[in-house]
């Protein structure tokens, strides 16, 4: 049993909890909505969220209350809320659990956010592959609509908020907020050039907020227990609350662990996830999904909050912690991630579109022991020419695996190129299934 209090996963950890409306109401569900709608003015809700220090759980970590504050105050037309449930970042599988196990927690957060920003329509953009998740959400929305928590004149307060599930169709880039909006408009998911930002020119050119599932799921708790309570958890003042970390890779007990922000990687991996799966020591880990640069065991005592992970040269990102044991080829690992980015580049800008293909080819050549020393120079050159020169942050993410492996494990590239030792490196795919 964890020593700290669970917030988001608390309900679903109760044996027999089904996530139905009755179950959710029994645990105090929709109380925040009852106590807020018509009782607290929308700007005060935003102020509460700002005070709680809640920051986006989707990747960028932008303060949620501040983001809401960017919406034009005097705008008369419709506004929209989009719940980002695209969850396609390799290494991340928390939103799936939050939606499939406790959908009403997410829905309550969505309606609260709609109220705070004055939106009457919310779309949950869920990745297309999660058919089960979208069915569960749709069922939950129907339940909530019948009970009067969603729809017109919610709980008789005159507040309207309609929620729709919109399935994506298999494109990682649609997790990027402006690509998500394009996709929701029925177009290809090509990120927009910013500014203008979604806060003023979002869905259908209307003021729009895009928030991650986990971000929204925190809202009912902030309202119920007060922003001061929330701001006291984790590592205040900048990283408050808990994070649901998704641990994957070579550990004994992979899975979702909700812990206060600021816990060390060592504690998360060795105490919660049970440590390494075999007697091989850890070689590398990623602290925040595929877009975050690799770190080494020297960083095991880095605190998992936005500032400390950034100071260590990586990012907290989506909270996907992937652990690799000694014997894993880092060139191979970088190639696997690079192939992902190559496959998912939307193609809007040339550095990302062409560069990712070039990077994959070069890495493949090195791994096939046909590389040349100049290739290392080419790799870093390409990375430098992609990062920071693209329409969206995908470009920076795509070069992270290569830049960080070149930094920490350059010798492996050199060795492969020298055709030395490399034959001893194990590529996990070749040694059978299982942990």
């Amino acid at each position: 049993m964890p020593k700290h209090e669970l917030i988001l996963l608390k309900n679903m950890m109760q044996p027999g909890y089904t996530g139905s409306l009755t179950d959710y109401e029994k645990t105090g569900g929709y109380q925040a909505l009852r106590n807020t709608l018509g009782k607290i003015a929308p700007p005060d809700v935003t102020a509460m969220v700002r005070k709680s220090g809640l920051r986006g759980r989707g990747g960028a970590g932008f303060p949620t209350g501040v983001k809401w504050g960017f919406l034009p105050k005097d705008y008369q037309g419709p506004r929209y809320l989009c719940c980002n449930a695209d969850e396609s970042e390799p290494g991340t599988f928390k939103d799936r659990q939050l939606m499939e196990r406790d959908p009403h927690q997410v829905l309550e957060g969505i309606v609260l956010a709609c109220y705070a920003i004055g939106a009457e329509t919310a779309y949950i953009y869920i990745r297309g592959e999660m058919v089960l998740g979208s069915k569960i959400l749709e069922h939950a929305i129907d339940e909530a609509r019948v009970a009067g928590y969603i729809g017109k004149n919610i709980l008789g307060t005159g507040v309207n908020a309609d929620v729709w599930v919109h399935r994506g169709a298999g494109a990682y880039i649609c997790g990027e907020e402006t690509a998500l909006l394009e996709s929701l408009e029925g177009k290809r998911g090509l990120p927009r050039v910013k500014p203008p930002f979604p806060a003023t020119h979002g869905l259908y050119n209307k003021p729009t907020v895009v928030n991650n599932v986990e971000t929204l799921a925190n809202l009912p708790h902030i309202i119920n227990r007060g922003p001061e309570w929330f701001a006291g958890i984790g590592s205040p003042p900048k990283s408050t609350g808990t994070r649901v970390f998704c641990v994957s890779g070579h550990v004994k007990r992979p899975g979702n662990y909700e812990v206060p922000m600021g816990m060390t990687v060592r504690e998360l991996v060795y105490e919660h996830a049970g440590g390494m799966r075999s007697d091989k020591p850890m070689k590398a880990f990623i602290p925040g999904g595929a877009s975050a640069p690799f770190l080494t065991p020297a960083h095991l005592d880095v605190k998992l909050d936005f500032e400390h992970v950034a100071a260590a040269g990586s990012m907290l990102g989506s909270g996907g912690v992937t652990v690799m044991e000694e014997g894993t080829s880092m060139v191979w690992a970088a190639l696997r991630l690079m192939e992902f980015f190559y496959h998912e580049s939307c193609g809007k800008c040339s550095p990302c579109r062409e560069g990712s293909s070039w990077l994959v080819q070069t890495l493949r050549r090195i791994l096939a022991k046909r590389g040349r020393m100049e290739d290392l120079e080419t790799l870093s050159d390409l990375c430098k020419n992609i990062a920071g020169r693209t329409v969206c942050a995908f470009g920076d993410a795509a070069v992270a695996p290569i830049q960080s492996t070149l930094k920490h494990w350059r010798q492996e590239y050199v060795d492969l190129i020298n055709e030395a030792e490399a034959a001893n490196l194990i590529m996990p795919g070749q040694v059978g299934i299982g942990r």
Partner: protein, 242 residues
């Protein structure tokens, strides 16, 4: 209420003023994106191109197969969005559900329903990976090969399926039962190696489990080994989570 949508709608039905309406809506669109400096020629070329496509479409609007069959469902989908085009992906899913893949005539019909040009539908459908443009096997197996799954053996899963079914990724078995694809991360990284077959996830795969799943699908069309609502580790100690 007045909107570009309704202008295009009207123009579409009357055929003649379409050129003007399209051109103006394109103009409006690039302005609203804040793309003041964008290439004007490219913009007008696109407008003209769209008109040509609309005119072409007038002659072959793909019939009313979907509308006749799913009229109510289509109405319901359209009612969720203030702008018709947003219904494009949901309608493509509907067409795919109907036929196993999205046919040329379905694309034309959807284009017509949403007042779009066939190229607008085509550019969208080809951007996303979940739409099939050709017939697929009854069971579409998609194995995740991204890093986290690869660390715990997804390559062996792929080899195993290839061996059992005698097909490579991108192929279907001769009996039309199975198609195999290798895909990127499906948000089940902690319970890898994993695959998706049609709508269902199968996680923590082993050779033995794979054999059972394939046998189940062959005999009953479904398998009890598919995942339910996701939670890992499970709250009550059991299995590997113990």
């Amino acid at each position: 209420m007045w909107s570009w949508e309704s202008v295009i709608d009207e123009a579409y039905d009357q055929d003649i003023p379409v050129l003007a309406a399209r051109a103006r809506s394109d103009e409006a669109e690039s302005w609203r994106r804040g793309a003041g400096g964008c290439n004007r020629r490219a913009r007008s070329m696109r407008a003209v191109w769209n008109i040509l496509a609309i005119r072409l479409d007038k002659g072959m609007c793909g019939g009313t197969v979907l509308k006749d069959k799913y009229g109510k469902e289509i109405e319901e989908i359209l009612s969720r969005y203030p702008v018709k085009r947003s219904a494009l992906i949901p309608l493509l899913y509907l067409a795919q559900r109907d036929h196993g893949y999205v046919t040329e005539s379905a694309m034309q019909e959807i284009a017509h329903l949403l007042r779009l040009t066939p190229p607008q539908v085509y550019e969208t459908i080809t951007f996303y990976t979940m739409f099939n443009l050709k017939p697929m096997g009854k069971f579409h197996i998609q194995v995740c090969k991204s890093l986290m799954c690869a660390l715990v053996g997804s390559d062996t899963v792929i080899e195993w399926i290839k061996m059992k079914l005698g097909i490579a990724p991108g192929e279907s078995t001769a009996d039309g039962l199975f198609s195999l694809s290798v895909v990127e991360c499906l948000a089940a990284c902690g319970t890898g190696p994993m695959m998706q077959i049609n709508d269902d996830y199968y996680e923590q795969l082993t050779e033995d489990k794979l054999d059972r799943i394939l046998a189940d699908l062959r005999s009953t069309g479904t398998s009890p080994l598919k995942s339910g609502p996701f939670m890992w580790p499970e709250p009550v100690p059991s299995g590997r989570g113990a």
